[in-house]
Symmetry: C2
Subunit: 225 residues, 2 copies
Amino acid sequence: MPQVVARRLQGLITRGEWKPGQQIPSQRVLSEQLEVSRASLREALQTLETLGLIRSEPGRGTFVTYGQEVDRGPELRWRYADSFSLLDVFQTRIMLESQIAASAALVAEGEAVEALVAATDEMQRGWEAGDLVANVEADLLFHRIVVGQCGNRMLQVLYDNVAGLLTETQRQPIPRTRTERMAESLAEHRALIAAFRARDPEAARAAMAAHIRNTALSAGVGLAP
Amino acid sequence: MPQVVARRLQGLITRGEWKPGQQIPSQRVLSEQLEVSRASLREALQTLETLGLIRSEPGRGTFVTYGQEVDRGPELRWRYADSFSLLDVFQTRIMLESQIAASAALVAEGEAVEALVAATDEMQRGWEAGDLVANVEADLLFHRIVVGQCGNRMLQVLYDNVAGLLTETQRQPIPRTRTERMAESLAEHRALIAAFRARDPEAARAAMAAHIRNTALSAGVGLAP
């Protein structure tokens, strides 16, 4: 579990040990206190920042934003803004994951479909329990399962080449900025599962495209239908 | 020009210095005779083989097939058969290049459009002169110009990641197996140019999809519309 550290830090915040607006300890101090590597800690802090629980301010430090009003657009937190726009990456996600979903719908086995159901259930459970890290991890798992079912090996390789960037768009602080989005997102996952059960590639393509388009919209990115 | 060596060898074949069915000299002998590196020679021989001018038979040698009847399906010559099927790669090409064409149509400048016209003219000229190497090089150039015009940097990176595989599908021995295909292919290039001039992304997407789908069909690969 790569996100064990992120969940521990999330616990400090949601239990109120770290208060809204408070500056958190330095990475050096934290990695010693928690007995984790600097690399794991950095990854965990990035996850929490993209989820909108903390905010790093260059030259000042990192502060708890959970429990505070959200005052900035999510696009401002896009980690790769120097190399790729959020619009470009969402456009790529729609293209690639829609084609992958269509391909996967033709071959997905019952076991894989049940794994998609379990991931969506876990995504919902994490959300209801206020466990944003578990919520987003289950979301990422869902999309990885879909890719794993794709019969076109070349599309899988293409996805793996840019998976870091694509999955980053799933960690946008949507839960904090538009909470009603979560119910829609879960319903979209279940629509894709239904298309897989029906072995309907075009329904799967449309469900995945709608899901990512709506996700993009919540992140402030409008994409042509 | 990476294809200088391929064009020299092509000349030996089309001028009849190497006869149909004849075994060609070993790579060691050839690289000395032509004073080119083994790497350049190997690349040139692969180009000629995918164009259907020669055929390497493991354990026997390499033979001139130009001027002989075509007796094998083009899919048998697919160089990457061990890793990816031709179907998978064409499906990826349609997905990626159609999206790239739509994106490029929105931004392509007049100069780039003129470069597309020049590449298509050169493709036609190479075909009419029996210069298959020049023909396919101009075809590759055309597609590279389209990618270069794409406004989505992420799609460009994705394309570059797999460009070797994608462009390999453009070197199938189509000219030898279905010669009437060349006129269609040129017309499809010009349809894409017209969509660029009209700055019509959906027309560009459709033109590129049709072009690659028809190319696939000539290589024996049927793809759903």
